[in-house]
């Protein structure tokens, strides 16, 4: 690895570099900062209460609803949204579709951060988090537990994603030879990562298999794992489209203007993939529906609610994607992506919270503190994302390292 002759001066260079990179770039008083900072502070305050007075002091969780918004939204939904990383690395590194290469880095970064923050939110929900080391150090392995599997795979996947992203870090630090070495690990990390993703995306669904009597029959199926896996594909793709659209505006100076056209091509490709995955998903859903004679369940609120999810937020966006790809309508793709994401939120929350104990006399709904903490997690993730994107070659082309003081970079509204 890169061991320079003069380790001392290299180390000083490194410290100086880090110090300059730590400084905020751009304005501090932006709308995003003004909203996010108080929420993050409030969220931290809530967490102090949560860890001293117990989960019940800030959440609406109950004996009937042991898992609420933090699990149902942050973890279950958040991880589905992060599915883009395994799909894109599959397309680019396994299938070698170079066309999608420009979005690999940003997608992997998004995936990595999503896992760190959203899957990490799992620990906020643990009553006795210090015992989390038991299943990690092998003090106690619950081999029969789906959750055991899912949490191990989360951890390993984060490592795999970090390896996938590490060349960017090496490049940023100017460690050329390290970078070469890390690059050589990418394919292995990608293959390992895809495998782990397949397992834990479906594993999140498998968590609910034993809750059979508690989930409304329209949502419970022994095929939940497969449904979760397939839906994570279009959830991930839609998230890339949605997120890419926003960051192309916000970080536009990071991207070579010539590349905008490429990005449009990529978006249409992703939309096509999403349409196909949604069609397959819809097909599965229909099979289950017919096989289980579910039409008898349609004539009440839950039947209506089911149709809203499955027609309004799966079938409609599926057709919209297909239409948009054929007629090259970027706007329609974006709307479809948003509808799809809403549909995923609905689906995951239906299984974990809304249609869970659908007949309970007292229903669960999240407390404002649960929502604030969720927003805190999301905002914190965006802060870290922004910090990295503004410094490391994530969106801009590799090697052309614009100095941070380059006058060409104007502060867009979102920057620190």
């Amino acid at each position: 690895m890169a061991i320079p002759e003069n380790l001392g001066s290299e180390f000083r260079r490194f410290l100086g570099f880090m110090a300059s990179e730590m400084r905020p770039k751009g304005k501090l008083l932006t709308p995003f900062n003004i909203i996010s900072v108080p929420i993050i502070l409030l969220g931290l305050g809530i967490l102090v209460v949560r860890f001293t007075k117990g989960l019940g002091s800030v959440t609406n969780l109950s004996q009937d609803f042991p898992w609420g918004f933090w699990i149902g939204f942050d973890v279950i939904t958040g991880v589905a949204f992060a599915g883009g990383a395994y799909i894109i690395t599959f397309v680019v590194y396994v299938m070698r579709k170079e066309r999608y290469h420009p979005i690999v880095r940003v997608t992997v970064l998004n995936g990595l951060l999503a896992y760190i923050f959203y899957a990490g939110a799992l620990t906020l929900d643990l009553g006795r988090p210090w015992n989390i080391i038991n299943p990690i150090i092998g003090n106690e392995f619950g081999y029969n537990s789906v959750l055991f599997l899912v949490s191990w795979h989360f951890m390993l996947y984060m490592m795999a994603e970090f390896v996938e992203f590490s060349p960017v870090v090496a490049e940023w630090l100017g460690w050329k030879r390290v970078r070469g070495f890390l690059d050589s690990l990418t394919l292995a990390a990608v293959i390992f990562g895809i495998t782990l993703s397949t397992l834990h995306q479906s594993g999140l669904g498998a968590l609910y298999l034993m809750a059979k009597p508690k989930i409304h029959p329209l949502w419970y199926s022994e095929f939940i794992p497969i449904l979760f896996l397939v839906s994570s594909i279009f959830a991930g793709l839609s998230m890339i489209i949605f997120e890419g659209t926003i960051s192309h505006r916000v970080f536009k100076d990071q991207i070579d203007p010539k590349k905008h056209h490429t990005f449009e091509e990529i978006v249409f490709g992703l939309a096509k993939g999403a349409a196909i995955a949604m069609f397959v998903y819809y097909f599965f859903k229909a099979l289950i529906f017919i096989h289980e004679h579910h039409w008898t369940l349609l004539n009440d609120f839950w039947g209506f609610w089911y149709l809203v999810e499955i027609l309004g937020f799966v079938l409609v966006p599926c057709f919209m994607f297909a239409y948009a790809v054929r007629h090259r309508r970027l706007g329609v793709v974006r709307v479809a992506a948003v509808l799809t994401l809403v549909g995923i939120v609905l689906n995951r929350l239906n299984i974990s919270v809304i249609a869970f104990k659908w007949d309970a006399p007292i229903k669960y709904y999240p407390s404002w503190q649960e929502i604030v903490v969720t927003l805190m997690v999301v905002f914190a993730e965006i802060w870290v994302f922004r910090w990295i994107v503004l410094r490391m070659p994530v969106m801009r082309e590799a090697h052309e390292t614009p100095t941070s003081h380059s006058p060409a970079i104007e502060a867009p509204p979102l920057r620190t």
Partner: protein, 280 residues
């Protein structure tokens, strides 16, 4: 069980990350473990068992003479491992004790990623504080909604009946069984309890419905119930099926080692096959 053996071997090879269901540590035989027979036709609703349980386990001791708790249906809670409910049935008033059923193949233990929830070979399903991380997956999974969580503690515990595990080790019977003045509760091996229950039904066919709740429910439970009226009338769910709950995740868990070893090979193959570039 060839397939199972192969997959188990694969699971061991993949160690922790493969997971794969190792054989659950549970009584091998579905009836060779301890349980309790609850004869609801004998229960007078005195709630001595509630008091005895709470005293034994340092929980909230109810004032059974004055608290009028039978007025509404209750659930077990983080302060009471067992409760007695009163039901108005087609054959009049019936009292029913409720607690953990100590399933033969407990969903809670299969769910637990730290083995904190644990089915001992002699029967009781116990919770071990030093292992539990408070994820509450056991609560999500238990078909009877038995495990309860202390939501207002910084160091919360899962609370549920442990069939007086400590007392059993000393050769004593569970505190509730000991306290019952009418022998509505009887402690023993499930095999013997089943015999006794059948004899009671046989001797008094007019007194009982001809079914023993817990014989097959969720794969069989350690606690068994006899009743004069259909079990739905006394708050026992009859829609839970007879499949042991861990079975529902078994297929998924068996698939894991296959995916873990098969998929990388497939991906590598795809990678070698695909051309370097697609200018499509």
């Amino acid at each position: 069980m060839k397939r199972r053996d192969f997959l188990k071997a694969a699971g061991v090879a993949g160690a922790a990350l493969a997971g794969g269901p190792a054989e659950a540590e549970q009584p091998a035989d579905p009836i060779e473990f301890a349980g309790v027979l609850v004869d609801t036709t004998r229960c007078i609703g005195c709630r001595s068992c509630e008091k005895a349980c709470s005293e034994e386990h340092d929980l909230f001791v109810p004032d059974i003479a004055n608290d009028n708790a039978l007025a509404a249906e209750r659930q077990t809670s983080e302060t009471q491992w067992t409760i007695v409910n009163r039901y108005e049935t087609s054959k009049g008033e019936v009292f029913v004790k409720k607690q953990c059923f100590h399933c033969w193949q407990p969903a809670c233990a299969a769910a637990c990623l730290t083995n904190a929830m644990y089915k001992t070979t002699n029967g009781p399903v116990i919770w071990r504080p030093s292992k539990c991380m408070g994820c509450r997956f056991c609560m999500v999974s238990c078909p009877f909604d038995i495990p309860k969580f202390e939501y207002h503690e910084w160091n919360p515990k899962i609370q549920k009946c442990n069939m007086c595990f400590e007392r059993l080790q000393e050769g004593k019977r569970p505190a509730c069984v000991q306290s019952c003045p009418t022998d509505a509760l009887m402690f023993g091996m499930k095999r013997d309890l089943m015999e006794i229950a059948r004899v009671r039904i046989y001797n008094h066919p007019e007194r009982y419905v001809h079914k023993i709740y817990g014989e097959h429910e969720v794969g069989g439970t350690g606690w068994l119930y006899l009743s004069a009226v259909p079990f739905e009338e006394i708050g026992l769910r009859t829609d839970l099926g007879t499949t042991p709950y861990p079975e529902y995740t078994r297929d998924f868990l068996y698939g894991v080692p296959l995916v873990l070893f098969g998929l990388p090979a497939l991906l590598l193959g795809l990678n070698l096959l695909s051309g370097d570039d697609d200018e499509a």
